[in-house]
Symmetry: C3
Subunit: 652 residues, 3 copies
């Protein structure tokens, strides 16, 4: 598929007589897709039942006249004020028991069935009204599920839904008591209607109670999405239904939600996300105008997995944003680089947020392609350049399949938040560290869901910290002929959040003869060097008993990396040097080809092209790779924020 | 006017047979004014309607017999417990929705009209009872409006009041929706009674919603004060009505409240305020026994502006206080220095808080002029010395008009709290940095309100970070013939908190041909040097497009200081060195006379006298100024905490 | 008495056919006592009135058959879910007004009289059912009173109880108003039923209001315990009733609760408590695998005082725990060392928590003597070693009486939390610093309650920071012939939390002619050296007026240590060096014998034996003491985590 540019547009924010000029300029820039509608409910239905779809159809007419395709967003993330009068209990409740009111956005509870019906109603009405419009090119459901901490609600609706969900899961209260270990502190229930949500307790809830609540909440997001998907697909089976997910957001299982999506898109704000992240200060400072070099790529690969191979950027940062603690100006060229990198990782569309900076309301300090006075902002010109370069290079196809894969599991993220056992242990930081260590060598990576049934075709698969096995994954491991790296904590729990009777990592001894006896978790400033140099154990260390071969041990003689055939088990979290050393070791063992990338430069292959991007703040010189036949964009001399595209000698 | 000393006294705290001895000693110290009454409601009306004014009249008799004048404080900051039984909904509600109960002070909601009537009732009763007492010298309304975060309440009373206020302001709901930009996220209201307060939302409210709530809350403080003012002035048109404001407190618009005051006073706690401030640690440590050298002065000048030229210190710190995280002992002499500095800046009265340290209740660790055992504390002797020195020097008149003025605007403080865009950007810290840079050179400064109609008579006017212009100020700027310095963010919003259509700084191009295109906000530890040395841009940087002359630019070539004639625009916040460099530059350009002050020494001129104070922890030697004819108190050799008063050759 | 080992066991967590094998292994290890029952209510009474005691009696039968004695814990810390249906208002309310729900443990309000009756009911039923069981060896009431912040509740039940308690204490509302100083801010009440709890106020409550609420809450814990004690003693006057207190926990007065206990036990988690403490980072890091060397000992001595001379460890950490921010693996040997140290300080029983690590629920990461797979964990072998060594050494008797005593007072802890006057001033840290300075020299210490009537028999008594005198203590001071050290803040308040009329330290001038005039509290990073070297004043400094001899003064000339005969008053808190210097000085003056202990080594004498323990991370060599006749366990060469036991030449 030929990649394309898009933009987010809010015709309701501007005088109708500006629309045509706006559409003409979009077309001039080279934009193909325009997302509209997702915040317009109060204009579409100003009072209950008073439907005003005419104006948005006229906006679609205008856009269509300029050859633009519309992605229509259902407006369910921003129900109008009158909706709260109609359903006062649709508001979510925070973990402190406070109702979260109207006046911003996402003011609804995923568990509220009345609102779910309202969402179905407006979706059906819109599908009927615009579903056959010739400019229509796709749908977006809602907007950024879960943003502002909205996946979890502690409302009566959530409590009622949770009880029903538990009864369906466990059948009897005795089974639930057994699964949660409720005998532990006399926490046994007599009936499902005694169960409450795991907030506002005296101390922590049973971990299985907490995990089940998160599973329940995640299922409600999936159920909410399915309602819209079913309606939209029924109307137009040919058009993609898309949701715009977010970066660093893991409160629901995105694989589950994407069961009723055709494409996964995400909203990429490299600078805002870095500023608000828990990255070290030096990383924040060094990359404040570029974004962390592996952060975008990881999410591109993750959402390609979530989206069944199809991925868009629905919102791409174009300049300074408004919502981070600090909002730096990007390095000139970054709006181009980010787009190119997304395309390299398989994006079908990169859509800038937003067309024109809004001078009013919450996001008035958020840049657009146009300034509030309608003059071009820097990203306007960068977008036009990208459009021209896409035509010039004629890049198409899909992201190449990687030789390395990493399993990313949302439930593991929840599990280790519920039971960190070491303050600050982060599942996703641990996974991203493994990702970055591979990518430093120019190795292309795929992300896999934990329900993957086979690892065939990969040279190396890493499962960095999976909390509990499932049957599919156990089989995939048993059948895999490549190199496997299991990280610490893998298999350390059952699906009911208990320690397995055989102890972690809970694999048959013919696969891995090892037991985790206990954990040593310490302040991460206190590292333990590994023997032979090259890094240190940090934060998390497992005391294992094993008959496998010890490949690395620490200064105290505790095994760190063990191997049984090609299956490797890492019994600790490491500092950056140790993580890199272990990945280097695996790459060498598996004989995976690598690139010699300059610092700050990253690459990815898409259908016969290798795209290089330079996240460094200075120039860099590429080392031509053996499989390349020359550059079709840029040269080996990459300036800061530079993009170079090499043609591969043979299609990958 | 001849300045005088005062003291705060609570006859209800002590046996009646102590009063005469106390009054005699006050007179011996040289005290003229005694504030009483403001916490005595439960003694004045122990149960509803049971009025007991006799004892306080006897206390006034005693004080009057010793020649003391009474400032009578209305007791409305501490309604008795029975009042809460009568008006259970008079209690304020915090931003988390929790009612703030009885048991300390300020337990009332400014929006509660029932309590406002009770306040009027007790004020009228007291005015009738003591209004003609011969010892009466003035009134104080309530006590420290807003202290302990009491300006904002999120109660039903506040919600109802806010809706009424909005309807009065906007007339129609459509006008409000337009003003707030509610179309942005479908936040449009159908009716005023749907509007809620901007707390407990999913994410932030529209900034105009938040700003209007702050305006509303500020107006309620003003309305509350007006009720008392009208009653007190009706009784005694000849006596001043005063309120005691606080330092570093900006939650309501003090200019508005002071529309119904004759004098603005403030409660000066130099050490407590520094300990609880966000000043850097080295400043906190260096000045922990003196207070930050420009902090008191800034507030003196501010409250002189608020008080229509009339300013008192109603509460002056006399020794260690109880309420800061650390409560150091002042350097010997500071209780004298602070009083002299206040007089230098125009104070009519400096009143120490309090006469005798109370051995009980919340403030038992707060020093007084007397210890709890009635022996003199150090400040007792220092106050006596000040009284003697006032007589000796015969200082009188008013604070001299400055040649430099700075506009301080409360709404700008709120605006930049609502939308910092850079974590930690502080409007008032920014204003005080400009103030300190002028004052370092011995330049006397006036503070101006944003409703100032003319800048005539000043050589330099600074408007450091004003969020939105009003007509008066635009005219003052257009008509001004002196040097003007506009700081970053000035004019960057409309009064409805939107970006002006012409972009910031939103002045006619004949005044300033410049546009702010975007903002670059970064971690303040990352400074960008300006070219030519002398400081760095820090925290906030604007990308401007201008045809004005660029006087300073930064290392990246971004204009920092531009000028069009005498109008200068500063497009960034700077570190201390850059701020000083810019002020030095302006002082030189405007040819404003300066003094060569030793480090730690500050000065101010009052009616023919220049008062020097030494905030340093060591001795300092003054450089005699050309306009001085010699010292009438102290010498050029100033010890730590020293005060020197020079006589000017000609009246200023 | 011969010391013994114990273990905590939960038969309800394991299949009944495991019990016999478990009991046999316990006996093999050398365990004598088994605590059971305290979390089993939902198994003992699954629905209201459905009593199922048969299984636990069978468990006792099994344990008894193997010669084990049972400590039976009443299950009142974990009422079943149905109890909350029966008494919905039994749940406590936090300081933010939020009800704390079911789903973990300790979900009850000490003020709720209905639940107190339920606790009495189940206690009586259990006493009747198992009270005469031959295996029964003692009782435990409830479990860890106050854990998870459960001493204070802000519920309607607490409010009602507090009003009744106040009326009983003060008689008239006028007396209460006087005692609290309510005149201060018109806080006077008309009736007791107007009084509310001191949470959710506008600013802080009157300190006497806050202190009385803490006294009230403490009294409810004592009353709750008394109900159970009376029942259990009535059934079996011969068996000890024990409660398991905690480390670093001071929210109720343990002396008061122990008025209805025969033995005080505590739950010793040296690593978890250090990790969660406010100790400096270097101490946390250095001792992360051993625990802070004086922390365990202090609590042993404290609980020996609380328990009328009888002390147990009811829960001893055996390996990594689950609940700290970091959970390190102990140094090999620490489970042995901690037990030996407890015995040295007089423990009758050291009971490891727990027998087998539970693979489910909240504490699944908490080590036991057995791993979840029933294999021995390291502590299993260490416990067996201790049992063998106890037999070998034949240690018995009691902890020797110390020559030094320190008064520890819970109300002072509350007082200085209510009114720190210096951020971070900690009463208990201050007391422990004095304790550690004595113990560094091998001096054995006793802890005394503030109701001690005589100090006879001690060479030195320290009262580090007692907020208010009582008659007993005044007499003990007046009559004491040894050396007395009073710390800063001592006697600085009356029992009603007011400054005494004679000012602190409020002793007759024939005892100590000194007055504290004011306090200088500063950031603890700013120390003031004392003259003559050897430490610095830090955090807290009193300006005193005295005719006593000044033994140490600081660089500003403020007296730091003064003495009148053998009574010494310390007018400041000091850094570690100053505290040590003062204790060294006192030890020398009082001629108390000391030991020359290697760094990291500590000692304690029990009935003719001196036990040395090595908390250092390396080996240490003991200097044989003159009063020792040789080693009965270990040698002078102590490895890390080593234990050496010397026999004294004469019984101490
Ligand atoms: Zn290998
Ligand atoms: Zn100029
Ligand atoms: Zn002495």
């Amino acid at each position: 598929m030929t990649p394309a540019l898009g933009v987010c547009y809010y015709p309701e924010h501007w005088p109708e007589d500006w629309w045509d000029r706006d559409a003409a300029r979009m077309a001039e820039v080279g934009i193909k897709f325009v997302r509209i509608g997702e915040f317009a409910w109060s204009k579409l239905e100003p009072t209950p039942g008073d439907l005003r779809f005419d104006w948005i159809i006229r906006a679609m007419d205008v856009l269509g006249r300029h050859g633009l395709k519309v992605v229509f967003g259902t407006p369910t993330a921003t129900p109008p004020r009158w909706m709260v009068d109609k359903h006062p209990d649709m508001l979510a409740v925070d973990a402190n028991g406070r109702k979260k009111g109207f006046g911003s956005r996402r003011h609804y509870d995923f568990s509220h069935l009345g609102y779910r019906e309202e969402a179905a109603r407006i979706t059906q009405l819109l599908a009927d009204a615009v579903g056959n419009h010739p400019a229509l090119g796709g749908w977006q459901t809602d907007n950024e599920y879960g943003c502002h901490g909205t996946t979890y609600s502690y409302s009566p609706a959530a409590e009622a839904g949770f009880r029903t969900w538990l009864e369906a899961r466990y059948g009897t209260i005795a089974a639930l008591n057994e699964a949660w270990g409720n005998v532990f502190w006399s926490m046994e229930y007599n009936r499902f209607d005694q169960i409450e949500l795991p907030n506002l307790l005296v101390c922590e809830a049973a971990p299985a109670h907490d995990l089940d609540f998160r599973r329940y909440a995640s299922d409600q997001v999936a159920a909410f999405n399915k309602v819209q998907y079913d309606i939209l697909k029924a109307k137009r089976p040919d058009l993609p239904v898309i949701h715009n997910f977010m970066g660093r957001y893991t409160e629901f299982d995105h694989y589950d939600v994407a069961e009723t999506l055709d494409v996964a898109s995400w909203d990429a704000y490299p600078l805002g996300h870095l500023a608000m992240s828990d990255e070290p200060e030096d990383v924040k400072h060094h990359y404040m105008r570029q974004g962390e070099p592996d952060y975008q790529a990881f999410h591109h690969d993750l959402y390609r997995a979530v989206g069944h191979g199809r991925m868009w950027i629905m919102e791409q940062q174009p300049g300074p944003v408004n919502w981070a603690n600090f909002n730096p100006d990007p390095l000139p060229g970054m709006a181009r680089l980010w787009a190119w990198e997304a395309f390299a990782h398989g994006a079908e569309v990169v859509s800038y947020f937003r067309w024109r900076q809004a001078p009013f309301a919450q996001e008035q300090m958020h840049a657009g392609l146009l300034r509030p006075d309608s003059e071009p902002a820097p990203a306007y010109h960068e977008a036009a350049q990208v459009a021209q370069e896409l035509r010039q290079t004629a890049i198409a196809g899909k992201a190449a399949k990687g030789r390395v894969a990493i399993v990313f599991d949302y439930q593991s993220e929840w599990a280790w938040q519920i039971q960190p056992q070491a303050k600050g242990f982060s599942h996703s930081a641990h996974v991203r560290a493994v990702y970055a260590a591979f990518r430093k060598h120019g190795v292309d990576i795929d992300i896999l869901s934990p329900s993957t049934k086979s690892f065939a075709g990969y040279d190396i698969v890493a499962i960095p910290a999976l909390f509990a096995w499932n049957d599919a994954l156990r089989e995939a491991i048993a059948d895999f002929e490549g190199h496997l790296l299991l990280g610490p904590r893998s298999g350390s729990k059952t699906q009911n959040f208990a320690i397995p009777s055989a102890l972690a990592p809970d694999l048959p001894s013919n696969l891995l003869d090892a037991k985790v006896l206990r954990i040593d978790s310490v302040d991460p400033t206190l590292e333990v060097e590994v023997r032979g140099g090259g890094g240190a154990v940090r934060h998390w260390r497992e005391r294992i008993e094993t008959r496998a071969e010890v490949e690395i041990e620490d200064a105290d003689g505790w095994p760190v990396l063990i191997a049984q055939g090609k299956l490797h088990y890492l019994a600790a979290s490491g500092n950056k040097a140790l993580t890199q050393r272990i990945i280097d070791y695996l790459i060498a063992e598996a004989d995976v080809p690598t690139l010699l990338l300059p610092a700050g430069v990253r690459s990815r292959v898409r259908d016969g092209f290798r795209i290089y991007v330079n996240y460094g703040s200075g120039a860099a010189t590429l080392n031509p790779a053996a499989d390349e036949s020359g550059y079709v964009l840029g040269t080996a001399e990459m300036p800061a924020a530079g993009v170079t595209v090499a043609k591969l000698a043979k299609a990958s």
